[in-house]
């Protein structure tokens, strides 16, 4: 029951805005790099950077607060049969960044001829969309406003979480002349409210381009109502199989796991995927289940780290059957496929699950008796190749009887096979998709997220 503020469908693209210092420096670096390369060498240059505000809360107090200004560029140098990469700091100051780049290239050159032959080198080429520029605008809190604005409305609550916001930029350039620039302000607030018991907690998420305190207050009120439901006595549910509703946040946990479980061509070909049986047609999922990349309203750049621009949509699983693997240029060369502009790790960037026919109002009545799970925690493949996933219930999870919430549950471990619970076990999906923002901040703030409905599943299997 997470709620979000979102304005992804009508982003303010301010592409006529004059280039920032970051953008100017990146373009100058891309223009200067060929002077340091040998005649037969090519390059690609990817950039990721941010100016971020991070404020961490515990018990409606500030635990840590600070700012980070960081950027990293990844420079690949290649010939027809060899490739090497250099990752360097990007400060946005050409006088700092260029000497560092020159020095790194000069260190690389002596090694280059002695690197092993790489049969799957892909050289940069021109494409249908060689350039793009997307510069978004928004309104975020000032760094010194964050504590007051966020904590004033919740000072009587046990509120914990992280506000992360600021400018992010991504860019790409190569020796074939491709140039892409993406720049956006964004924020995420990922928080929890806690009750008197250790396990009494409800989660909320707020994300977008424009901060609005009133919408934040409304979001907290929704989460607070959920917390009140958790004050009822806890029911211990024995291990077994139960009809289960997975709210969109819980579905996102499943999809996140699937997204690094081998939807890419390389993983399928190398025995590292849960989806070989789906791909080769041995098994199917329910016709109600469709998964696709959908860049229409996700707030991330469409260009990948090879400078290719993805289609706005790419079906991965369509009505329960395999449609497309994610294919990078390198896999395309190795396995004789066509690239569909996947990034080099062939992970999903803009997952979207198709909605179903279950209205929000019918969720409890259709669940009837079973478990309502708002969130899942610490998912992992228990058997990757077989498609089995394990994990825990977390936050607001309830035992439901005859369409009525009866009691919060003691957390349960599940372990079930996706070919079962997304196959015959999938009863329906909700009509409404929700946006689940990516709140990860490993290395840098993530952008985007996924769109997913909730799911009603027959006999979801609980083991501990």
């Amino acid at each position: 029951m997470t709620a979000q503020i979102l304005d992804r469908e009508n982003p303010q693209n301010d592409c006529d805005r004059a280039p920032s210092t970051y953008e100017q420096t990146f373009q100058k670096l891309a223009a200067a790099i060929p002077s340091q390369l040998k005649d037969h060498q090519h390059f690609t240059l990817s950039l990721s950077g941010e100016e971020s505000q991070f404020t961490r809360f515990n018990r409606a107090k500030v635990r840590q607060t600070g700012q980070v200004r960081d950027g990293q560029m990844s420079l690949h140098v290649m010939t027809g049969d060899r490739t090497a990469s250099i990752t360097l700091p990007f400060t946005g100051n050409f006088e700092t960044d260029w000497p560092l780049t020159q020095s790194a290239l000069s260190e690389l050159q002596p090694d280059f001829p002695h690197l092993p032959i790489d049969p799957y080198v892909v050289l940069p080429t021109t494409t249908a969309q060689n350039t793009s520029r997307e510069v978004r605008s928004g309104h975020l809190l000032e760094a010194t406003e964050v504590a007051e604005q966020l904590l004033s409305p919740v000072k009587s609550l046990d509120f914990s979480g992280l506000y992360a916001g600021g400018l992010s930029y991504r860019a790409y350039a190569d020796s074939a002349g491709k140039r892409h620039w993406f720049e956006t302000p964004s924020f995420t607030l990922d928080y929890s409210l806690f009750g008197n018991r250790l396990d009494q907690a409800a989660k909320g998420t707020v994300a977008g381009d424009c901060w609005d305190t009133e919408t934040y207050r409304a979001n907290v009120a929704v989460t607070q109502r959920q917390l009140e439901l958790l004050s009822r006595p806890v029911k211990t549910v024995p291990r077994g199989s139960y009809r289960t509703y997975l709210a969109p946040d819980a579905v996102a946990g499943i999809i996140d796991t699937m997204a690094w479980g081998g939807l890419g061509e390389a993983a399928l070909r190398q025995g590292n995927s849960a989806f070989n049986q789906l791909e080769n047609g041995e098994l199917t999922l329910s016709k109600k289940f469709s998964l696709r990349e959908d860049f229409n309203k996700i707030g991330i750049p469409r260009f990948n780290n090879s400078g290719e621009v993805s289609s706005t949509q790419l079906p991965i699983i369509e009505q329960g059957e395999w449609a497309n693997s994610l294919v990078s240029r390198r896999s395309a060369k190795e396995y004789g496929k066509s690239s569909n502009a996947a990034n080099t790790s062939e992970s999903m960037r803009a997952p979207a699950i198709a909605p179903g026919t279950l209205s929000e109002a019918q969720i409890l009545s259709q669940l009837d008796t079973g478990l309502y799970l708002s969130n899942l925690h610490y998912l992992n493949w228990s058997d990757l190749v077989a498609g089995s996933i394990t994990g825990m219930t977390r936050y607001a999870c309830f035992w439901v009887e005859n369409g009525e919430i009866v009691a919060p549950i003691e957390n349960l471990r599940f372990d079930d096979n996706l070919y079962r619970f997304l196959g015959q076990g999938l009863i329906d999906l909700t009509t409404e998709q929700r946006f689940i923002p990516a709140v990860d901040t490993y290395n840098r703030r993530s952008l985007g997220g996924m769109w997913t409905p909730g799911m009603l599943i027959e006999q979801f299997r609980y083991t501990l």
């Binding site: 500030v62 228990s382 077989a386 825990m392």
Partner: protein
């Protein structure tokens, strides 16, 4: 660099109670091969500095990848402004006492420097390892990875700290995937990137390297025809490469004081351990002795000072089964009024220090491997983690391994595929019935311990002997 940072610090003119600058520079190389073909030949440079300011009892920080006087002066002002703006909401009124004055240095052990092998030689070594891993046509994927890191950090502060630490880290991985007749099995060299150490090439090019590569390939093939691990409640013997994960998830994380204080509740989770448990709780059987040991030579998370400058010492976390102290730096110790260790660590210059594991080790016991196995009538022996999941209070866990063998009448017998076990943390550690002697001890590490908001990945080390646990629920691929 210490002089450079000290000079900058002296020029910062703000009325803070304490100011510190922590700078790091990391130079890394990653070279990897798949099926004998290069996947990556990369170098990386990462550097920057965090200015931390204490004002009105609240810390604020600002981090930048420009280590110039002007950039750090601006950062100091931003950190100060953050601290002042948040001070009325401070979770605890800190003083400079949580940033002790220290002067010192640490250099990790290093016999064979990273530049003692050329890029061509490293690639050739990895290619040969891929060949060694491919023991039969059933091997469909081989991989060999070597990563090196030179990490230097410098800490200076307004109360006179000057710390320089230089770490040389090497991380190695070997893996093979076998396929035949619709069965796929993966085997790695003690788990993904488990051979992560401080040191140079001497920690990668060990005497047993080629034997390990051959065994990894052979066991991947062996698993193709192995039966699934049975569904049973039985005696479980865990090798050190799985004990690493077991210690990490069910001892290390629950003992982190910031989890107990609630800082992590919104992300990684809390802990079933209560503040009053320290000094009293019987965490496991009397055979259980766990130490925090950042002084272990060669273990990957060794250091002399944590990232707030607190000097590191070896400490017992659990002694004879009784919980002694938690994993928390000086800030958490003050907030909780409970003993901790020097473990306030940051993954890089761009993240603040939080309570982390460093090296968490299970001390050896007195039972030889042979005596341990011969004492078991029926059981399962498991090696190398492949799946891990535990609840947010660190109670209910389920872990899967790559490789197992049946134990029958005191002997290791049939290989088993898809071995898993599940239990709850207190029940599991109270069932510890045998701890291997020093000859069964092994040291591993992982570069991938994730935690914190904003998120941080740090390296942690774990050493453990082989251990036996009684009456544990084990199961195979179908997942009973």
């Amino acid at each position: 660099m210490i002089g450079h940072l000290t000079a900058i610090l002296e020029q910062i003119d703000i009325s803070a109670d304490w100011i510190g600058i922590r700078a790091t520079q990391t130079t890394s190389t990653t070279r990897s091969m798949r099926d004998g073909n290069p996947q990556q030949n990369g170098r990386a440079l990462n550097r920057g500095a965090m200015v931390e300011v204490l004002a009105d009892g609240q810390f604020g920080y600002s981090a930048t990848n420009q280590i110039t006087p002007e950039a750090l002066r601006i950062a100091a002002q931003q950190a100060y402004d953050q601290a002042i703006a948040a001070s009325q909401w401070a979770v605890h009124p800190f003083t400079a006492a949580v940033r002790p004055t220290v002067v010192g240095s640490y250099t990790s052990p290093l016999d064979q420097p990273f530049d003692s092998l050329t890029a061509a030689e490293i690639n050739d070594l990895l290619r040969q390892l891929c060949e060694r891993l491919k023991v039969s046509a059933d091997i469909v994927r081989t991989s060999a990875i070597a990563r090196t890191h030179d990490i230097e950090s410098w800490l200076v502060s307004s109360n006179g700290s000057q710390v320089h630490q230089k770490l040389n880290l090497i991380e190695g991985h070997l893996g093979a995937i076998a396929q035949a007749a619709g069965v796929t099995q993966a085997r790695t060299d003690n788990g993904h990137m488990a051979h992560s150490y401080q040191g140079g090439w001497e920690r990668f090019k060990t005497a047993d390297l080629w034997e390990r590569a051959t065994r990894t390939g052979e066991q991947a093939v062996e698993l193709l025809s192995a039966p699934d691990c049975p569904n049973d409640t039985t005696t479980l013997v865990l090798a050190p490469d799985q004990m690493m994960l077991q210690l990490h998830e069910s001892v290390g994380h629950p003992l982190e004081l910031d989890r107990i204080l609630g800082d992590e509740r919104n992300y990684a989770g809390g802990s079933f351990v209560r503040p009053q448990d320290f000094g009293q709780l019987a965490y496991g059987s009397p055979l259980m002795n766990v130490t925090f040991d950042a002084t272990h030579p060669g273990e990957i998370a060794s250091y002399d000072y944590d990232d707030t400058g607190t000097p590191a010492q070896r400490e017992y976390l659990i002694r004879q089964g009784i919980l002694q102290r938690g994993l928390g730096g000086l800030e958490s110790q003050r907030r909780l009024n409970s003993p901790g260790v020097a473990c306030a660590r940051a993954c890089n210059w761009n993240r603040p220090a939080i309570d982390r594991m460093a090296n968490i080790n299970l001390e050896s016991g007195e039972t030889s491997f042979e005596n341990m196995i011969s004492s078991i009538e029926n059981g399962v022996y498991m090696e190398s983690n492949r799946s891990w999941s535990i609840d947010d209070q660190r109670r209910k866990f389920q872990f899967g391994c790559e490789y197992a063998r049946k134990i029958e009448n005191g002997k290791l017998t049939t290989p088993l595929k898809n071995p898993n076990y599940r239990a709850t943390t207190p029940q599991f550690w109270h069932s510890l019935s045998q701890v291997g002697d020093a000859s069964t001890m092994a040291v591993y590490g992982t570069p991938y311990c994730g935690k914190g908001e904003p998120n941080q990945l740090v390296r942690v080390g774990h050493a453990s002997p082989v251990c036996t646990f009684d009456n544990i629920e084990v199961f195979g691929g179908a997942g009973a």
